[in-house]
Symmetry: C2
Subunit: 370 residues, 2 copies
């Protein structure tokens, strides 16, 4: 991917992120951090490959990869020393830490390293150190996007919005769910996206009420709800959008459910602003459905952050106390799922701005009747 991801301003951006992380580590009295989760590595130094580790201390950053990525690492990384590990990345990182005897309190993420990896690391370090939980510090930084990230996320959202408008034209009874999913993902790539940000959901009829329906060989029927939940990855950044259509003239009941979900979406987005809490956005959407007598059909959280991962901080859910700040990018995605009738979900991506929130998703939100 190298060249696609190269950014002439990359170095400054990555150094700035590394410095922010150093300040957080300082507060936790950590002498260094071992970053093993690839989206975190990418965020801190720009590496987009599948094998990378970063060790950051007060005055240096060292990136480890294997021989397959020698050229790519040269291309992508200008903000860390690059070491090509011959016998495993963790072993190499551990040996570096072994030699830096002033490093005693080492931060890492216990949720992002296996027991076997930790054993490898411990035997490579081979001296007494204090491992401390990094408490998701990189994820917390990642939750607040810089303008460049917001602009990439806007492009990624525009791709799925455009794809949806084309998809709406090919949806008709007789087309298999898997065919629709195939067309959608092909369209992402035609627009230059790396691919889908998660397995595209095309769920029709009864299946639209299943929260985890994978597309199947089932053909769209007449007078069915069809939920399309999809997103594209562009230069590493994920979009996520859901639309629900009806293959026929929608009966009053369906129209009324759809309006309920749409109002919940708008209420959720209207509640999103700096200083509001995640739970306020959730409550705005949930209470709107409650007033319509639909709250019991809304069985999941209202949304989640998007960025280098399709699910990242902050979570937008019941009781979540996270305070929203400018630059956070999240989904708002209320839905109702009624056995026998089907499901309706509508989902937009938004960015928290100085005074409120702005939609990144541009596709129409009205009920499309095919």
């Amino acid at each position: 991917m190298g060249d696609r991801d190269k950014d002439p301003n990359g170095r400054g951006r990555y150094l700035q992120r590394q410095d922010r992380l150093r300040r957080v580590l300082g507060q936790a009295s950590a002498d260094a951090i071992l970053v093993s989760h690839l989206p975190n590595v990418r965020y801190l130094c720009g590496f987009s490959g599948s094998a990378g580790l970063l060790v950051l201390d007060a005055d240096s950053a060292t990136f480890f990869t294997d021989a397959r990525y020698t050229i790519q690492a040269q291309h992508e990384i200008s903000c860390a020393a690059v070491r090509i590990a011959k016998k495993g990345l963790l072993k190499a990182a551990g040996e570096l830490l072994r030699g830096r005897r002033s490093l005693r309190r080492l931060a890492y993420s216990p949720a992002q390293i296996t027991v076997a990896q930790k054993q490898t690391l411990d035997s490579a370090v081979a001296r007494k150190v204090r491992w401390i939980d990094d408490m998701g510090s990189v994820e917390k930084l990642r939750a607040v996007k810089d303008p460049g990230e917001v602009s990439t996320l806007r492009e990624a959202a525009a791709i799925v919005s455009k794809t949806f408008e084309r998809t709406a034209r090919i949806l008709r009874p007789g087309v298999a769910e898997l065919d629709v999913a195939g067309e959608i993902e092909r369209d992402f790539k035609r627009q230059g996206a790396e691919g889908p940000s998660f397995e595209t959901i095309v769920a029709s009829g009864e299946r639209s009420a299943w929260p985890h329906a994978h597309p199947s060989t089932k053909q769209l029927g007449r007078n069915e709800l069809v939920v399309l939940d999809h997103g594209a990855i562009l230069r590493g950044y994920c979009s996520d959008m859901t639309r629900t259509v009806f293959t026929g003239k929608a009966p009053r009941k369906v129209k009324s459910l759809y309006q309920g979900v749409l109002q919940a979406l708008e209420a959720g987005k209207a509640a999103a602003k700096p200083g509001a809490k995640s739970k306020d956005v959730d409550a705005a959407a949930r209470n709107t459905l409650r007033r319509a007598g639909l709250a019991r059909y809304f069985t999941h959280s209202t949304g989640h952050g998007i960025g280098l991962e399709i699910h990242e901080a902050p979570r937008i859910g019941k009781g979540d106390e996270t305070v929203l700040v400018e630059g956070m990018v999240v989904t708002v995605e209320p839905g109702v799922y009624i056995e026998g009738l089907g499901g309706i979900r509508i989902e937009d991506d938004i960015v928290i701005t100085a005074r409120g929130a702005e939609e990144l998703t541009t596709a129409p939100r009205n009920l499309i009747e095919l």
Copy 2:
């Protein structure tokens, strides 16, 4: 997915696999095993969702999932007790183990559980147990396929073979690599596959020499090598096939390299039979390239097992002592990568039979000149 994966004979097949695993555990004096890796869980009880754990002891099997999968688990699982965990799967599994005081030596896979998960598990078990490394015991069972698995893998290989024949017709200068990848993956879904078994590689020109080139917006040029490495997932099982084409009339040099790689492929496949070792297959391919003066351009292993994962046991590499047995399904994929000129790789899937090996891949292997 549920119904798609339902097999009227499923129960017997899964019970048989569980019994095989019990015998292995018995040899290691383990009282029970905690299976956390999803492909292993699927192999042992048929569950195809994204959250599942299995605890197996001498006379019981208990499967854990969360509320999202209540219906799917009922559908798919007939060979284990199903428990819906309210507060985390590991916590629930740990509490079950806590209550079974006769279980003292517990097998698990340190490479498939994070440090944080292990901590959760330990505090739920809350009594002294001896955790022992399961030494990849489920992976070893999975390496030898039963006839039903071979038949699914044959179907999955047929899908990519068919797709390739259609792809060859749309390859021409001016088409972007990403467009080709999009067409390929759409075609998989049109044939009823769940999707690609890994990110489809379409690498043209100089990029064909990069072992990890993701498809880009680069258009195919005239007189370029194009490497297509792709595979489909069908009912959970992965195929994997590479073909290399030339966009024009191939010069003598390219033809001669292609013949070298093709001969290495055929030599590798011919060496694959019960009783042979992995390293023999690797050596057969590698020595063929050596005789053609090309060994230095062959920079990776000759192949790998395929099944519920795209890379699984056995590895077909230099010095690997694994003895091949009937029912193993592996790739053979020699290649040469020459900077400035490009890369050529040809890859088939084969199954080890009673007397030799049989090709699952059916697409033509001759050099296609477009």
